[in-house]
Symmetry: C2
Subunit: 226 residues, 2 copies
């Protein structure tokens, strides 16, 4: 089983200090929601973000969307080999049931995340597909399967197949932010590895991890060439 963690993802509701900002109020009114129940989104709230600390990196639910779609539609997940986790800047940890169907439509995805962040689970009654808990990245990783590695452009150059070889489980952490570095650095005893000299997008890194995991499993079924 592979545990894939998007860490320090920029996923949050509009913070109180900018709920009165004109760009936030106009956008919330168009959507018929209270500003406090709207997802912070740099596409719509750019002027308000300038007033926030770390404003140039915040409000990126699109990164979470691409990540979840890539993870949950992967062969690793189809084969029941994946646990998909998102950790946010506010130390919330989102866990997805593997059979969750993430909406491909961005506006529906935003509605889903708003429901999750306001209610703590989706659906709010019964067995949830998505659930949120307050947990630090360090707290999550302390109990996560080993080996556990962090993808980081400043790490040592390795291929993931080297990490996964002969292992039944592993944890890989990928950054969920558009620029800068981890706000909550993963514990220093976890190796940092770099797949490429160039910084990679979260979905590119996730796709390398997911396909490497599949390739490092014993192959199934008849396979012949020619």
């Amino acid at each position: 089983m592979l545990t894939l963690v998007l860490a320090d993802a920029e996923l949050e509701l509009v913070p109180q200090e900018v709920q009165g900002h004109p760009s936030v109020r106009a956008h919330a009114r168009r959507r018929g929601r209270s500003p406090s129940a709207v997802l912070l989104d740099s596409s719509f709230h750019h002027p308000a973000l300038r007033a926030l600390p770390d404003g140039s990196r915040r409000g990126r639910p699109d990164i979470v969307h691409f990540f979840l779609v890539i993870a949950l539609d992967s062969i690793a997940n189809i084969e029941g080999q994946l646990e998909t986790v998102v950790h946010t800047r506010h130390d919330q940890v989102l866990r997805c049931r593997p059979d969750t169907r993430i909406p491909k439509s961005y506006s529906r995805f935003v509605g889903l995340m708003e429901e999750l962040l306001t209610k703590g689970a989706v659906p709010p009654e019964g067995e949830p597909l998505l659930r949120l808990e307050s947990l630090t990245l360090g707290g999550f990783l302390a109990r996560a399967p080993r080996p556990a590695v962090v993808l980081h452009e400043a790490g040592a150059r390795h291929e993931l197949e080297e990490v996964f070889a002969g292992r039944d489980e592993a944890t890989v952490v990928v950054g969920g932010f558009p620029q800068g570095d981890f706000l909550h650095p993963p514990p220093g005893d976890l190796p940092r590895i770099s797949l490429h000299g160039h910084p990679l997008k979260a979905w590119t890194a996730a796709s390398e991890v997911l396909t490497a995991w599949r390739r490092s499993r014993p192959r199934r079924g008849p396979r012949t060439m020619g």
Copy 2:
């Protein structure tokens, strides 16, 4: 060089026969555009799609969006090893310059595709990043690099590394539609291969192709483990 083709993608402007449909007119009015200059989108035009042939599969620019983001942010593309091509149901072929930055915001992506489909190129003046031509899938594939293969769930089970081994170039075709089969079946002399018994999403297939291409290249730079 790898040529990755999304074929029979469901990308088109609202067709004339439903431009007067209430769901289309209301959506176009909200966006301040003429119905003829709006991208057909099943999230917004579901009632109008019921009146169209093949309506249950049409209007899926989100598939093209995920595909282009995965392709253009891939390591293969960063290393100058990728030609990214989208063929649509109306036999239009979209070519992307490798340095194109596809907007991550879906609403901006929609605006970009509307500009492309109405003007034929983006930017319309000077050296285009994206350009569109009238060309059948068969016409494109007749001149595409060999080996050329089609990913298809009914194909023979193979890994792409077997196809790519020892090759400097290759072409892989992935279906760009949410259900059903190719409207324009690729030429019968191209092998059909299946990566998995389960049907895969276009972005899952693309991500398998892109990472397999990278893995089948000679590795660069110092790499040591432990």
